[in-house]
Symmetry: none
Subunit: 211 residues, 4 copies
DNA sequence: AATGAATGAGAATTCATTCAT
DNA sequence: AATGAATGAATTCTCATTCAT
């Protein structure tokens, strides 16, 4: 309990710790949280199981680290969008495409975090933070459009972002996890159309797409 | 060994079986699938340990029954909508309200089915069936509006229904499980506005709401 | 945690429980508390190790039961003394002999209780109760002699009983556990002489013994 | 493999070793033998894990050193008594007082040695040596009194010393470990009275007490 | 000498499932 | 049908000890 999870001081220690996290990530991804045995992780990391406890108290602790890493990556992936094209619809399309892809890369683990969040406050926190980043990004975008007179000024930016962002996220889930077979291009296009129309994006920018 | 799924013949048997399902439902709801021990269920049902196996092969079997019951209820709840008012927007609003409420009643268990579906085909099937019912209903509605010239005829009814239905479902989750605090009326109203606009519902029916 | 240690309802259950206690007693006696593995106890009782947990939460719980049984037996053994001969010295001798023998029968376990008492209040309580019985008995005896004018009336009966009783108990320990080789008869005789003289038992009854 | 008992040659080594023994002593005292982990000792001594094994083969070895140190201190404490007053009763009282105090300072550790002695011959040896010193001292004292015609010449000096010494030792235990609340002065006085009378110390020196 | 990472034997405990009554 | 005792596979976790640096 005491010494555990202090960052290792030597290079070797750091390498071992990283190996365990990577091994855990793969194991969780492939087998799901419950199915993973600590020994599975150790075997993957080619480390004795006693070593595991040098770095982590329990499987849950390891998962927390893995989850933090994944969330970090998703944050990173989401940031890029700022150099996007000026056309509002194109920007929305780009954001949706990114969202679907970021999700595709981490779907399984994020689902696991969501599941864990149901019964564990630490994970719930993590999840809420993650969501908040995306919600805020969406809300910002909408507010800018409203200010430019390109979107319905009557919409609550945050709540709208929650709902439309949810549409994308949920579709990603349905698409990837439940096998709703659709071409990415078509999906992104329709998501964008629905999103654009829902916020009342001025016809000039929307017209040509779905018509 | 035996499948043990033959319905019990005596009244006493039927009652015991029903008690186990009810107990299981409560237990799953409160504790989550993994955390529930068969003993918990038996204790709730005031039935001895061994008796469980008179009716179910395993915890999973029991969960399957519980899940089927829940899904059945959600089907039932969804059917009612047909006697709704004629105004399209009002019908959409009514459907959304129903959806949110049906979900509220069963959120935890449906989430559990979703989680189970990730690693178990039987649950995946069940889930897909459930989704299909709602998707088809949504697609039907959209197609009718399109035929009446009230919605954009260029939209793929099924895919659109998947996406917009997903928006509602996902919002329900965010709202209930992740504590996004919003008044039901406001939520339903905004969901409806977004939905209506997204499908290009003719202005006559949409205009006054969010303005 | 919950159901454990409720008395078993069936005869079979009672027999199993008793077998575990008996097996535990033997194991503790032979191996000492720390050295005993739960599986050792189960093997002796010819019971699977899962069964152990049907009846006891932990090794300590089992030990508590064993200790209670031993203490019970020592109580019982100590009670007999009342039908002893009328001569005071003979009575003291008889009590000492009994004490040494009762101790001989249970030395190891009582030592274990003493050790456990150092870090566990429940055992400390048990031990104090046990001591109290013997102390009280000794104090009563002394008080009676004082009233009969046969012993120094200036002695505090309780404290004197604690000390002289301790002499006997400690000798038992030295004799049995540390291998102080002495004939029982000689030991009892000397203990009795010292005890008798210490309380100032009138010479008439003491003189001839140790000479 | 190696015995690792060669005294360290450098000053630094000696200091580390001493720190470990001191740390071990405190740890054993506070937590008891079984509960102490080598890590605890190292942490207290502010020494790394591996260093322990530079000086000691095992926890038991360390304990042996600690025990030897304690026993040494008790020897030392017991020796002082020779410059005591000439009055026999006063000498006995002084010895008892010393005994109680020496014990008070080391009770916990001596108890641990006693416990260890039950299953380990090395500790049994150590303990027997320790006892022997006190027993011999007591027997010598008695023999001298007998030669001076001040004590009952019929008593076996050694066995008597074992028994009466045990009375004091056991009382110390009861007093310190089991919370028999008594004032030290009263305790020493009564122990002395009982002891003096038990050996038949001639009334001249004892007179006022028992009449 | 000192460090701290790595090891793995060993023990406890849980719980789904079987079975005799 | 119901009971509850019995089973044992499966897993987690601890900690003394070794070893490379």
């Amino acid at each position: 309990m005491s010494v555990k999870s202090e960052p290792p001081t030597t290079g070797r220690g750091r390498r071992t710790r990283a190996a365990l996290i990577q091994a855990g990530r793969e194991a969780f991804e492939e087998q799901g949280f419950e199915a993973v045995r600590i020994d599975d992780v150790c075997a993957r990391a080619r480390v004795s199981h006693g070593t595991f406890y040098t770095y982590f108290d329990s499987k849950e602790r390891l998962f927390r680290e893995v989850a933090a890493a994944v969330v970090g990556e998703m944050f990173a992936a989401s940031v890029v969008g700022d150099a996007a094209p000026g056309d509002p619809r194109a920007r929305i399309a780009e954001a949706n495409r990114r969202y679907l892809r970021a999700w595709a890369a981490n779907a399984r683990l994020v689902r696991m975090v969501e599941h864990a969040a149901l019964s564990n406050d630490a994970f719930r926190e993590l999840l809420l933070e993650l969501r908040e980043v995306f919600v805020r990004r969406g809300a910002e975008g909408l507010r800018r459009l409203q200010e430019q007179g390109l979107a319905d000024p009557g919409l609550d930016p945050r709540l709208t972002a929650v709902m439309l962002g949810g549409m994308v996220e949920h579709f990603a889930h349905v698409w990837l996890d439940l096998g709703e077979h659709t071409d990415e291009t078509i999906a992104v296009d329709l998501l964008t159309t629905l999103w654009a129309r829902a916020i009342g994006l001025t016809p000039a920018s929307t017209g040509e797409v779905s018509g």
